[in-house]
Amino acid sequence: MDNSTPGMTEMLIKYMDGELGGRERQELEQRLTSDTTLRSEYEEFLLAREAVGQYGLHQKVAGIHQQMMNELKTPVRKISKVTRIIRYSMAAAAGVLLLVAGIIVYNNSKLSPEKIFAANYRSYEISAMRGENEQLVSRLEKAYSEKKYAEVVNIVFDRPYSIHENFLIAMAWMELRNTQKAIDQYKIVIKEAGPANLLREEAEYYLALAYISNKQYSLALQQMEEIQKKPAHLYYSKITPTFISQVKKLNSQ
């Protein structure tokens, strides 16, 4: 039942919109703590505002969605028979050229663990929350987000490290180019994280890269094959046949 007066309803709206000041605001806040009907009405206004926000966001994304879907889809166009023959011929010629160029490039450039590592490694970034959740970010996480990697690996807690912290220590070792320490740390993450923890999948991929950097190619290949067995793995699409064959080549050198 709505016991509030029209004037009071207007006050609630003004209060929600941040347009009520001074004494009026204080009085209303007092009434809201003691009058459950009024508080309930105020909550309904908050929910109405939330609904508007949700609608606005949905419309915003929907407006861009179709545009992006069109951009991300490979356009399929009908082409004439003659055009198709010309295109095939040109594609074949370009293919031969590319092959020749590829052989030249291949002969001139030697495969190295550094090159493969650099092509597949991406720094892991975290963005610490501000405001209400700031207290949830540990000292270690904060240091990592500020890229103070030497500090990250030297922080000692008198409590167990979280999986996320262990993962960040591993990543910090990677950034410091101490791959052996990173390997040890990734193994801890993989051991401690449950099968559904996505950090485990992150650690599995970075462990493979650490092995490559450390020239332990057989172990890297084992790790990559494990990822390849799991289509739902975060990095499944990164373990391409080319990537694997490059590591195999390094292994046979």
């Binding site: 949905h58 969605h65 992006m68 559904a196 996505l198």
Partner: protein, 201 residues
Amino acid sequence: MEVSLKTADADLLRELRSGDRIDVAIKTIYRSYFDSLGWYVMNNNGSRQDAEDVFQEVVVSFIDLVQKNKFRGESGIKTFLFALNRHAWLNELKKRGRTLKREEKYNKGQELTETNVSDVMIDREDRMQIINLLEQLGDTCKKILLLFYYDNFSIAEILDNLHYENEQVVRNKKSKCLKQLQQIIREKPELKQTLKNLLNG
């Protein structure tokens, strides 16, 4: 594709929070992550259309969490989007009466690095019901409320856009529309709970 993008997680979050460059940020999310997230849906009994629908839902939920400062960012955007995508698609499969055995196993004792995904992501049906709430209002009401509460226009700016007589008329109209929406919400207790969850997390 995602590796070639220059926009780091932190920049993307800043753009999503600021609102000024939100269109650019949304496009970055699509260009960076649709391929891999869509791939997951399409390789787990989903069609291209399913992948597109789920991704849109994921993007809306993600932006909402970022704007409400509920995304800590500790797991990275990519990891978190994967978790949302996985959750949304498994939920959809459940509704269709199909579940992936592998995922059922995964979901037991699930420990995600961020807040539990099921707590922060609402069902597609629930979201559509919220959208329908606004559709029950007239076009003018919808426009005024969106301009004020979503686009953060002042009453004076709304007056410029909608050509009312004066600011007081706009203010009265806005109040009337909000009360109308409040009444519609009052009559839908289940939806009230969904909105409360969205509001309070």
